[in-house]
């Protein structure tokens, strides 16, 4: 391969010095214009095809409303910039060097929330407590199943109440946050005063002390919980900080100390605390706020029939189709209809779904009504398989409906009483949200 001889620019070739034609008489031969013309013609014809095909050859952007990680419409440039910074943080995988652990569940936000949607059973979180006591002395309220070298993964202690929780979708969090408490409470009927068998109530929770009063859901006193499987968290900031701390083992100024298990002797990790700054936490909170829910599917005749059945058997008593947001710091979230198909209230779902573990004001049989938005494309981010309900036990809408009990037992029975076509139409409608 020593093509270059000593000295700049001189090329030594076996056939003779550079620039000498191997067969000089060939240079005098007449060109073959026909051949060149043919190539040129082919090239000219091919160019538009190449240009046309380029987009597909180079991948195409998914249409708006077809993903979980798209920004809500109406953001200004500054907000879009913040969205992008938050997205980078949300996708950031933490390393042990950067402070991952010492005990943790996963490396990044997105490694639990697939494509910003729901998680899979491999990522399930195990919460435990002794009644309402969070069992901090036993390493509660969550099992961290991973550990860096020098630390030991947690084991579930005996004699505690256990709950398996699939990571929920995170899109639309801003719209949920922007719903006034009064709007949510308007659907509450804790004593079932109207006698319809549905007695949804708010999970009144105390925000973490580090959440400033200026933050939505923050401040002194009880607030309506709206995030989490049991609506056990009111401020989005708290949900984010706790996820950093409990799920990834990342400290922030809000939770400045490493999460250590008291049952297994261990040292903190070697990264300096706090391991993320307030700006990084804020950018993730803002990102979650600005994530748009996917667009619902087209309204086909069958889906309209399903929607009618949905209304007839009163699924909408809990899965309230639309609520309207109030004023929000982000203008694009203000005074908008949020078609989340949930009342964000907690309901008795019966023994079959009960985890028998209280959370905030919610008891062991109560769960927040799961929003139905985004189900249309949920499979695409779970490699084709749906995982529904709090622990992912249901793989189809029908299985999820049939698992309903408690307050929803009558509606479940009404679903079973529908004709096969209506049931299929209802399922199709729900899955098109």
């Amino acid at each position: 391969m020593a093509y270059l001889q000593a000295g700049r620019g001189r090329i030594t070739l076996p056939g003779g010095p550079s620039g000498t034609p191997a067969k000089s008489h060939e240079a005098c031969r007449p060109r073959r214009p026909r051949s060149h013309l043919a190539w040129q013609a082919i090239a000219i014809c091919a160019l538009p095809l190449v240009a046309q095909g380029c987009d597909k050859l180079l991948t195409t952007k998914p249409a708006l409303g077809e993903r979980f990680d798209q920004p809500i419409a109406g953001l200004d440039n500054g907000e879009l910039g913040q969205f992008q910074r938050g997205q980078a943080q949300f996708r950031r995988g933490f390393t042990i060097v950067e402070g991952l652990g010492p005990i943790f569940n996963n490396r990044s936000c997105v490694s639990c929330h697939s494509g910003d949607g729901r998680g899979r059973p491999e990522n399930i979180l195990i919460r435990f407590s002794r009644g309402t006591d969070l069992a901090l002395d036993l390493g509660g309220p969550q099992i961290q199943s991973q550990a860096i070298p020098g630390a030991v993964p947690e084991q579930l202690p005996t004699g505690v109440d256990v709950s398996h929780r699939l990571p929920p979708p995170v899109f639309g969090a801003g719209l949920i946050e922007a719903l006034p408490e009064s709007t949510i409470l308007a659907h509450a009927d804790p004593t079932d005063a109207d006698g319809d068998g549905i007695s949804g109530r708010a999970n009144w929770v105390t925000p973490a002390a580090y959440v400033p009063a200026t933050e939505p859901g923050g401040g002194a006193g009880l607030r309506v919980g709206r995030f989490g499987r049991k609506a056990q968290v009111a401020p989005l900031l708290q949900q984010t900080v706790e996820a950093y701390h409990q799920d990834i083992g990342i400290t922030s100024s809000y939770r400045p100390s490493d999460n250590l298990s008291p049952l297994a002797g261990m040292n903190p990790d070697r990264a300096r605390d706090p391991e993320v700054g307030n700006g990084e936490v804020s950018s993730v909170v803002d990102y979650l706020r600005m994530l748009a829910p996917p667009a619902p599917g087209e309204g086909t005749e069958r889906r309209r029939r399903g929607e009618a059945a949905f209304a007839t058997i009163r699924c909408g008593s809990c899965h309230v189709p639309v609520m309207r947001t109030g004023a929000h710091e982000i203008a694009a979230l203000s005074y908008r209809d949020a078609a989340l198909y949930s009342d964000l209230l907690i309901h008795d779902m019966g023994d079959g779904l009960a985890d028998n573990r209280p959370d905030g004001d919610a008891d062991g049989r109560e769960w927040r009504t799961a929003p139905l938005w985004g189900l249309r494309i949920a499979r695409e981010f779970l490699s084709g398989t749906l995982f529904l309900l709090h622990d992912g036990r249901a793989h189809t809408i029908e299985e999820a409906i049939l698992a309903h009990g408690g307050e929803a037992a009558a509606i479940r029975d009404a679903f079973l009483a529908l004709s096969a076509e209506d049931r299929a139409a209802l399922v199709d409608f729900v899955e098109s949200r």
Partner: protein, 419 residues
């Protein structure tokens, strides 16, 4: 743990294998297919009488790193007993991931400078400093003393290129048929990878067609776990300067050279990668990394075929096992053909070539996802053997740990040359 489903990635390889014969058949009718066999000119030729290529032993002519690595290095000039030169490659690309373009359209792919000093007929000093996009840093890739005891035995020591596959040994930018190295090389092995060490290499016996190399090196470090945000990634443990645990790793390669342009190699590295104590506190036991690479090259009907396959086994601490892979593998297969030579009448060695490559990497054998597969095509114009202008396209399918596919693709233009 989910049961493993058949991985989609071998599909790419099957497609490539199926396409190659068709391409060969098509090319045979339209172009002369002569592989530009690199002419080997000993670097010390100016100091000695210029030895004709035929004077070099056949086996030595076929291998890149046999007894005389300096023989295989093109150089810019010679000053006394020191030869020096370099290479550079620029990459211009339109890359997209799921339709979203990457604004980083221009980059330096690689730039390096080297010097080789012939202290004595049997003693050489080699140094090479390179910025490579893969390391994203200015790195000493070669700083070694090479002592040739006999034709069959040479000792070397210093910063050595690891003998892990052809891609790491033949890392010069103008040599490649593609702008981007294969996934196996970049994502699995971590090319370019050089480490501090000492070793022996040579031919099994004089005029043999079997070469060998065995080195004791510092080994990869625990960055492949501790500093890796995406799971086990060997390149993150690339550490050429120091041993983090006091126990050297063994690296070696044995290669057959059955004929011109043909080579079949088997390389491996094994050794502990982690630290067992931090500030005197024992945090773990010693854990091993084993990296095995098989590579081959040949020419069939004017088509130059090259392939590389690698298997990585990492002893992962139990607390990290579900998230960090214990086994990874990858493979690449490329075919290249010279379509026209000379391309420009006055430049006898100018050529137009085309190349196709399929490669795949599975970062975690225990789960269906966490993998990448890629198909690349490239048209290469070489004004001479020491420079190349490439125009290529690639399509890559990335799968996250949920096994969700994310497509990526790009159009790439690159220029690379020795200087």
């Amino acid at each position: 743990m989910r049961r493993r489903q058949p991985l989609a990635t071998p599909g790419w390889l099957a497609l490539a294998v199926a396409l190659v014969p068709l391409w060969v058949a098509a090319g045979a009718t339209s172009a002369s297919a002569s592989a530009p066999a690199p002419a080997v000119r000993p670097l010390n030729a100016p100091a000695r009488s210029a030895a004709p290529a035929s004077a070099v032993e056949p086996a030595a002519r076929l291998s890149f790193r046999l007894l005389d690595p300096p023989d295989d290095v093109p150089h810019h000039g010679v000053w006394d007993r020191i030869a020096f030169g370099g290479q550079a490659e620029a990459r211009f690309a339109h890359d997209r991931v799921a339709g979203v373009g990457n604004p980083d359209w221009a980059s330096v792919q690689r730039v390096s400078g080297f010097a080789v000093a012939r202290v004595h007929d049997r003693l050489w000093l080699l140094g090479e400093v390179a910025y490579d996009r893969a390391t994203d840093d200015l790195v000493v890739e070669r700083a070694l003393v090479d002592l040739r005891l006999r034709e069959t035995v040479a000792l070397h020591g210093g910063v050595l290129p690891l003998p892990l596959g052809r891609a790491n040994l033949e890392r010069d930018a103008p040599r490649g048929e593609f702008t981007d190295r294969s996934l196996v090389a970049t994502a699995l092995i971590g090319v370019p990878s050089s480490q501090l060490g000492v070793g022996v290499r040579g031919l099994l016996r004089r005029a043999s067609f079997v070469s060998y190399e065995l080195d004791a090196v510092t080994g990869y470090d625990d960055g492949l776990i501790d500093d890796s945000p995406d799971g086990t990634r060997v390149p993150r443990g690339r550490n050429g300067w120091a041993d983090n645990n006091g126990i050297p790793a063994l690296a070696g390669r044995i290669a057959l050279h059955p004929g011109p342009g043909a080579e079949l190699g088997l390389g491996a590295l094994a050794g502990p990668y982690n630290r067992t104590d931090l500030d005197g506190v024992t945090v773990d036991r010693s854990r091993a990394l084993i990296l095995a690479v098989a590579d081959g090259a040949t020419a069939v009907a004017g088509v130059r075929l090259a392939g590389e396959a690698a298997l990585v086994t990492v002893d992962v601490p139990p607390g990290l096992q579900p998230l960090f892979a214990e086994q990874q593998w990858g493979a690449s297969l490329e075919a290249a053909r010279t379509l026209r030579q000379p391309l420009i009448g006055a430049w006898a060695r100018s050529s137009l070539g085309a190349a196709l490559r399929a490669d795949a990497v599975d970062f975690d054998r225990a789960i269906p996802g966490d993998s990448k597969s890629r198909l690349s095509a490239s048209a290469n114009v070489r004004p001479g053997p020491s420079a190349v202008l490439r125009f290529g396209w690639y399509y890559e399918l990335r799968r996250d740990r949920f096994d969700n596919p994310v497509p990526a693709a790009g159009l790439v233009l690159s220029a690379a040359s020795y200087f």
